[in-house]
Symmetry: C2
Subunit: 254 residues, 2 copies
């Protein structure tokens, strides 16, 4: 398949490299900034472009991995093409595409991406959706080369998935960051709790999280909760988070 | 060394098995319930007891791995012994031990334990504290057989560590549980986000969490935040958690 990637951020970078690795032909990388397009294009042997008028009309798939609020604008410039135009956003409905576009869909890899950290795509669930059977087949073909975990997911389901992803990824990472701040304030190294972070995640690979909940809240250990809140008395932000999550745990398991 | 373990819960079980594995002699397992003491004693070739009067006075180390609020009571029954009496609690000050006890301390493995999931003790930071140099040496010797990560941590530092542990372990796991609920309500499988949970944790093994924060809050993506809150409008608990954590992320990175 001939593929054009629109975008040069974390998702675009990881996706382009993974597709190239499995032998797909990336013909162009588009970015508003030619420098960024060039940087990624070099890695995947593609041509860099910075103008949507230059997009090759003969590609089989156009993967739009730009900021959510730019998907509409980018897709409008591709509307006479025959190839499948797909965005990669968890939070964006398939209806973002105008009915003037013939073949379109969504290709959402459910993972957190950094530019410089390679992830194993075979382990990543990829959620696809399309406006017709031939577009769906094209996206399925493409996905099957990358991952064994292909899910047909409609837009409503995908937005629910994206919300759940915010809880387990963005919010959990923020709790890690707050813990790092708590430790740093006492001169303690973040290394001390890294093994605990790893084990907490590993535990739910085979269990449901509600089966392995531990800690003072589920034990209703009022003394420890009181001591923790005292330690947090000078930080209204941390104290509020501690209280809200503790209350939620007690509520769930009472 | 001859060791007595007081307790038969998750920490006691994992600790007894790990000590036995590195060749230490566990002479007794105490539990208020003989059945529980027996179950663990069988695994580690020890004698089960259910009465504190039966505790062997000749052990080198007594590890108290009972509920926090029972540590005082258990330790009172051991006060004429010469061996080092140490509790394993993150949340309990070393001062819990009466001055009538000669040698005492704390042996706190910073990890989350389940009864049936073996953990690799060599990777677990073990925080130790003692009331005198000889007790400290005894605890160091014991620790060095289990783990390469020995930290001398005083009670104030340890309670801070325990608070940080609640954030990264208990609270993160609760976010996983809430995400599982969000998915289940739409008939979506928790498997879909397991790879994301794993990657989120792996990312901070080499980075600080504040360096890898992603998501709508840090991007100040108001539309996505608004859409997520609409999805949560029928759950005041989830909505409050979403709002509090989103506000905290915005506050931290603004």
């Amino acid at each position: 398949m001939k593929i054009v990637i629109l975008g040069s951020g974390n998702v675009a970078t990881q996706l382009a490299e993974a597709l190239r690795k499995v032998g797909e032909e990336i013909i162009q990388i588009y970015s508003r900034r030619l420098k960024n397009a060039n940087e990624l294009a070099l890695k995947v042997n593609a041509k860099a472009i910075d103008n949507l008028n230059q997009v090759d009309a003969s590609a089989d798939v156009y993967l739009i991995a730009v900021k959510d609020d730019a998907i509409l604008e980018v897709s409008q410039e591709l509307k006479n093409f025959k190839g499948v135009i797909a965005h990669t956003s968890g939070a964006t409905d398939i209806d973002v595409f105008s009915s003037e576009i013939e073949n379109f869909g969504v290709f959402y890899p459910l993972q957190t991406f950094s530019k410089n950290r390679k992830v194993d795509f075979r382990e990543i669930p990829i959620c696809i959706e399309a406006n017709n059977i031939s577009s769906l087949e094209t996206l399925k073909n493409l996905t099957s080369k990358l991952s064994e975990k292909i899910y047909e997911i409609d837009s409503e389901e995908r937005i629910t998935l994206h919300l759940a992803a915010v809880f387990v990824c963005n919010f959990s990472n923020h709790l890690y960051a707050l813990a790092a701040d708590i430790l740093a304030a006492k001169g303690l190294n973040f290394d001390l709790i890294r093994p605990l972070i790893a084990e907490t995640a590993v535990k739910v690979m085979e269990n449901l999280p509600s089966q392995v909940q531990t800690g003072p809240a589920i034990r209703n250990d009022e003394l420890t909760i009181k001591n923790h809140l005292e330690l947090l008395q000078n930080s209204s932000d941390l104290k509020e988070i501690y209280e809200v999550l503790t209350r939620s745990i007690i509520l769930k398991y009472k």
